[in-house]
Assembly symmetry: C2
Homo-oligomer: 412 residues x 2
């Protein structure tokens, strides 16, 4: 089983290594993502599953049960990555879901209701600034107005979707009714160190921290760097600098004061015209704020607004803040969580109860179906990085946990 999981995760990563210096770049709605999903389809068929592609490009690999209950028990994750990301963020959940089916088939298990392994499209927000597009569509949460969002090359989301053979206007047809699924469980690498710090084997997630995301625009005045005196400038980048420091310093301070952790990051920054001899005229910065404590998240966003006003007054650079995303945290289903703990107990794996700082496809699925999120450890907590890594043993544990859960949930 160890080598099966490694080899099949390699297959879906289109390579024979799982860590490499340049990492993996397989963004949402690109040919690279589509190729990886075609491999998912092949593996699912090899396991005897029927594979359906929905209107959003999600793939649903289904273990059909003629004459049984209709509502399926589902698991799944995604295969897209951030640029130069790792092979495990998303891929671990997909391969463990397939591995669980393999374990159940090998044990000649006969489910009383269908089992699904779902591979979602475009989970990462790196390309268009919006995450979990496939699972949003499946959960009926997709707002078609975001089709005009552009990536850094000027390609719109709608165009990207079309390039992979789907029609943006029809993406909402991927929505599934509540009756189609009984429950959904996602397995994911932890992307942190809590499991390890608490000397446990895996994580059971209670709440998923959804981000507040801000687009902050600094509008200064261009001018010649050699001839514009220092005291006559409105340098947009010089105004953005104390703003970036404020976000970093304030987030650090709030963690000392409040119980729940908070993270805040100026993760994107573009300066224009970005010429060696021109004073920066416009800077746009993206701020990503997360905590399962929604009040703390709002406190941080408010402090950022006040600081932006202060800098505007002090520098003469106009600052505007647009809220891109502001979603409350998602609480997962307690019954599903208990079933996942039971699954661990049967295999003598120790569960750590925790929150998730990262968003996942499950946060959309949980709006419609009873859902759970299972973490396996990853090396040094690293993710979205070429050194991202999870051991074969932990992938095997993940498959076993999912297999136990799927069995429990499909015995009626």
């Amino acid at each position: 089983m160890l080598s099966w999981l490694v080899e099949h995760l390699q297959r879906m990563n289109m390579t024979n290594v799982l860590v490499r210096p340049e990492g993996f770049t397989r963004e949402g709605y690109t040919p690279e993502e589509t190729s990886a999903m075609e491999v998912f389809k092949d593996i699912a068929k090899e396991l005897g599953l029927a594979v359906k592609v929905d209107a959003a490009g999600n793939m649903i690999a289904r273990w059909e049960v003629p004459g049984g209950e209709n509502a399926a028990v589902a698991t799944g994750s995604h295969l897209d990555t951030v640029p130069n990301g790792g092979a495990f963020d998303g891929g671990a959940g997909v391969v463990c879901g397939l591995g669980a089916v393999k374990l159940l088939k090998e044990a000649d298990y006969q489910p009383k209701r269908p089992i699904e392994v779902i591979c979602f499209r475009s989970e990462e927000s790196s390309r268009f600034g919006v995450s979990t597009i496939g699972s949003k569509a499946m959960s009926g949460l997709l707002d078609l107005s975001i089709g005009t969002l552009v990536d850094q090359h000027g390609t719109t989301l709608a165009e990207a979707v079309k390039s992979q053979g789907f029609n943006w206007e029809e993406l909402t047809k991927a929505k599934r009714s509540k009756e189609e699924l009984k429950s959904f469980v996602e397995l994911h690498i932890e992307q942190g160190m809590h499991i390890n710090d608490h000397e446990k084997n895996y994580g059971i997630v209670k709440g998923v921290a959804c981000p507040i995301r801000l687009a902050v625009t600094f509008s200064g005045k261009a001018g010649h760097t050699g001839t514009t005196p220092m005291d006559r400038r409105q340098d947009a980048l010089a105004a953005a600098a104390p703003f970036i420091s404020f976000v970093q310093d304030t987030a650090l301070q709030l963690n000392d004061v409040y119980e729940k952790p908070l993270v805040a990051t100026v993760s994107t920054l573009t300066s224009s015209p970005n010429s060696m001899n021109v004073i920066p005229q416009t800077v746009t910065a993206g701020v990503d704020i997360r905590s399962v404590d929604d009040g703390l998240k709002k406190k941080m966003a408010e402090a950022i607004g006040i600081e932006a006003n202060r800098i505007e007054q002090a520098t003469g650079v106009a600052i505007s803040i647009e809220v891109l995303v502001d979603n409350p945290s998602v609480l997962l289903d307690e019954k599903v969580a208990r079933q996942l703990v039971d699954a661990g107990d049967q295999e003598a794996y120790l569960a750590h109860h925790m929150d998730s700082g990262a968003g996942h496809d499950v946060m959309n699925m949980a709006q419609v179906w009873p859902s759970g999120l299972l973490f396996i450890p990853c090396k040094d907590g690293l993710s979205h990085h070429p050194d991202e890594y999870a051991t074969a043993e932990d992938l095997k544990m993940g498959s076993e946990l999912l297999a136990r859960y799927l069995m429990e949930a499909t015995t009626l």
Copy 2:
């Protein structure tokens, strides 16, 4: 003459306005620059000048004097712009040079030695980070190793040169011997407010401040923005922020303490991977430092090095500094300056003696030939900005000053 100057500057800007919201984008060695230079050639020919294109793509419009002295008296500037720049930076000097020839021809003046109006290639550093490529080639100062520099689209300088019909390896053939020219004078917009502040009509430049330019690289560690605790990060952008503030604040302070002005700008910044959910891993920043006081410039660069060390220690983000350019300031020819003042006296224009914070083609020409630099005022001191503007009256003054100078310098 007023309308001739305006109309012909419009022609070279391929438009019928001289200020427009988006400004002018005509970078070095692009089809846009080439098109503008073709118009320069047409106008020069209409004035009866012979036009030669050298190996670097510079155009030399020459008033030949059969049987006269060989060494020509030259004036000129450039037609490339920064992205979204103005119509006057470069263009003013070119049109005033042509206008001066027109004035001399209309006065039936017979020079005793050739007169040249030179249109240089690729003066701005915005595309490749290196300025005045055409005049470097003509002055024999071009280092062919810079052909591998890339613009933001990954095009090398050598490729850009080739795209406009020239061969990078042959650019050094544009070098002219000392004997070919007697002197060179450039007219340029001031790009500052000193002429106006001193209630004079035009500027005569003594020294040209050449920049120290640094490429500063901050190497942190990527990670998931949602799951990496604040106190376990090496965020490259969070480390760059206090660096940017330091450059701005220190430059402001040094101007309070020292006599000669100094400017220092973090003018470019690129953050990677620049994804909403990934901690910035690598930031590269370009720093442009200028003063005619070379010692002050070095003091600033040293302070930047010390601050980079401090930030590196404090944040764990590795910082490396590469010196891209470090040229001493250029002193212009005193005799040429006196002749330019004489030219103003004859027209009752008042000269302001000053330094130039910006580099110009003349700083290369001055390494080989006695050279001068003449400034005409520009509105609000604005340049490298769509609102860049000089009045038709000041363009006319510029043509008259150049005509007087060319006459004086070609009577033998």
